[in-house]
Point group: C3
Chain length 344, copies 3
């Protein structure tokens, strides 16, 4: 789609400053914008980024007095809202998933399906499953026996839910999510002659996700050994995250990309675990705590605290280690000085 | 399914203590149990956890004399066995995958299929593949040309095996496992005028997994450049693990979630690599060694040793670094004292 | 396939030294070779590895005078080329994907498909998509609305491209790749009574991959919040990598397994990010920089520099911390000595 700056200004409610006939085909950030893009800036702090942009036009606040290198600007009272409105014009339209079951979907006979449900091509739903009202189950999904999917869930293509999984309402699962895989559990026995034998511990539990949980692409959440691996309401999980068996996560927490939570750990509510951090098994990360990126957490984290580093401690602990070489250099100089004085 | 405490006690062989008519619908751990759950405790050390549980009933050893806040207990001689037996009653029944090829499975003409094999809907098996007796290949699986699958393997939905992959007997692949992807290999050339050209190095080898190997959800194991990427018998790999091209792993080793092994590394037998650890290319982690969580291992690890940290060293090395700030503070105080004495 | 050493020598152009009738069924590295394998060595430095090999035969340079424990050798002028030629003989033949649309592929009516395109079984292509000439789209792939796939792309099984994704020419996507998932973006509001409410920020942008990009198994690349998440021409991404929304990556860069790049970060051209490293959001890693394995990068990295550690610094910084315990020991001894002198 191509629109002129003037046409966009009319749609989002702004005043054209410059060449209103300039043509726009996309919206992008200042640094990545190309000719033909509309970009935006609301803060005079970013004068330099504005000066360097390749965008054809900008959305700017009415109070912007700095120069800009573009063919035109659209001046608005509320740049954030205007920008989202402009982006929505050019965004690929959200695909429509009309209610109905695709003829190639294989749905077992006793599956219960609510009203206004979309089930896409080549999706397989096994016996005993329940799909709530208004769900969108896209193409090539696998839903195992006796899964219960609440109202309004959206399951993207190529996602698997093993048997017995329970989803609350409005849960979003992105492509490649794996719910309910067997937890990693084995018994090792070493016989008197040193021979190792390894047996699989049955993983008899399930996974339960609360209302409004969202799970990112290719994330894995294992079924409990006994009972339930649980993710509380409104918790948001990013891509490539590992949640091991029997983990319990509270509500409104966030798990950022590539972090991992080991078996039976308890994560409270309002907790934020940053990217690539790892939480050891059986420990408690209490409410509103934050775990920094790449931190390795071997023991309980008090409510509301921030930990970072491996093994995780306070920011002060991490800084003290980072500054150790400098402190050592200074001490070395002092000691040298002392030696000189004494030796002299 | 709902059973009374009395009914469960009869099935698992125990004596009811309290209200045998209390109703139970699931088994769960002490901390995560809810009303309606049966939980369990075998160790008087956990008196506090028992006191705080919300379970409706507990499985307890006959020798438990502490109070418990539940409607009933089932007293048994062997709590572990009783608990697993109770859990099995409520567990989602393991789905039955009866022998047979689903009519929507696409199996090339010259594929050899053993006896009692299940092949699920929308699975694709390419020419020249061999499937052993008693295999379960679930829905939406992809098995490439000339793969050889041993007897009794279980391949969960949405798993891919690229051409030439060899699985031993009783191998388990969980959902989203990727076997035989091209290894990461390129040649870089910089021409005299500074232009970089990058060419792909053909990845001509295969992947071979030994008997009783289990691979967790969304784990990736790349094909060798030449020869075979190999995982030895009985080695267990968790979720989201990366095994690069030409890696050689021995038998009975364990690779925990999100760890990674770079190209051509050798991992011995009985080795344990903990979560999020990374093993550099071409090095040897020898038999029975353990690599701690998040460790980064740049060089060979001797047999039977434990390494931790990045770059990985002994626990003592890691502790020495963690304690450096304290040691520095003490030294600083000493030096200050000395200065005073000398200066005074 | 089984060939004699003599037959192989004839095919690759070499002279047999030893038993030309020895039978070979595969090519493998010196250390992992088994009886029946052909291995290779070009460098006299590896005398020890040659002495320990279990290979039945070796490819050796004409100038090799050391002993070898194999039934035969094939002596050649150019061992590298000879070895690749021998490997190609035994490699599983690259599967043929003949042009044509499999009858089970579901291709929306207005999809534009170029010449000589292969579309595999159970693949789904939504309306408005464009597939260039000579593309191979394998089995069970999902391509969303309005995606544009350039000429000569190869998309392996069970890959998903969400709506609007743009691929350049000759892009390779390995199994399980997820392109265009929603970025991780939410607004948090805490009401005066302490109640948290979390809303999803619409992710309106797309993902754009340049010509000759290759993406490894189970890697995830999220769509932009606005504009485009962009990977430049010839950049190669390994397995299980996370590329967050609005990330901009230049050309000819490499992202090794399990590394992650947070939202809106800029990665230059010719950059190499090693395994398991993490790049914070909004920072710049400039051209030709290298980020070491497991490094955590919280701030901009200058062009051409090498950083390592968490928080990432120079190799010298990391070494200084690793050596701190030794330095402290030495200082402690000095201080003790001084105390003795003064106190005495």
């Amino acid at each position: 789609m191509i629109l002129t700056v003037k046409e966009i200004a009319e749609r989002i409610g702004g005043a054209v400053d410059g060449d209103g006939s300039a043509e726009i085909s996309a919206v992008a950030g200042l640094e990545e914008a190309r000719p033909g893009d509309l970009s935006f800036c609301k803060d005079p702090k970013h004068v330099k980024a504005v000066a360097g942009t390749k965008a054809t036009a900008l959305i700017l606040p009415e109070t912007w007095f700095e120069p800009f290198p573009c063919a035109a600007a659209i001046r608005v009272a509320a740049p954030d809202e205007a920008c989202m409105a402009a982006a929505a014009i050019f965004a690929p339209p959200a695909p429509v998933r009309a209610p109905g079951i695709h003829p190639t979907a294989i749905v077992a006979e006793n599956v219960s399906i609510g009203r206004n449900v979309h089930i896409g091509p080549y999706t397989v739903i096994e016996r005993g499953a329940t799909i709530g009202d208004g769900c969108t189950i896209e193409a090539q999904v696998y839903i195992g026996e006796d899964c219960r999917i609440g109202d309004g869930c959206h399951i993207y293509p190529q996602t698997t839910l093993r048997e017995g999984t329970v989803l609350g309402k409005r849960v979003i699962l992105h492509c490649g999510v794996r719910i309910g895989g067997d937890g990693y559990g084995y018994t090792h026995e070493v016989s008197p002659d040193g021979k190792i034998s390894i047996s699989k511990i049955p993983q008899l539990g399930i996974v339960e996700l609360g209302d409004d949980v969202e799970v990112g692409s290719n994330t894995t959440i294992d079924r409990a050994r006994l009972g339930r691996t649980k993710v509380g309401a409104c918790t948001k999980i990013d891509n490539l995250v590992q949640v091991a068996h029997n983990v319990q996560i509270g509500s409104c927490s966030g798990l950022i990309a590539q972090c991992g939570v080991a078996g039976s750990a308890h994560i409270g509510s309002g907790v934020l675990i940053w990217a690539q951090a790892g939480i050891s098994g059986h420990i408690h990360v209490n409410d509103r705590a934050q775990v920094g990126p790449q931190a390795g957490v071997p023991q309980d984290v008090p409510a509301g605290s921030y930990v970072i580093g491996t093994p995780a401690g306070s920011l002060r602990d991490v800084a003290a280690i980072a500054l150790a070489p400098k402190a050592i250099s200074r001490l070395r100089a002092d000691v040298k000085e002392l030696k000189k004085k004494i030796g002299g």
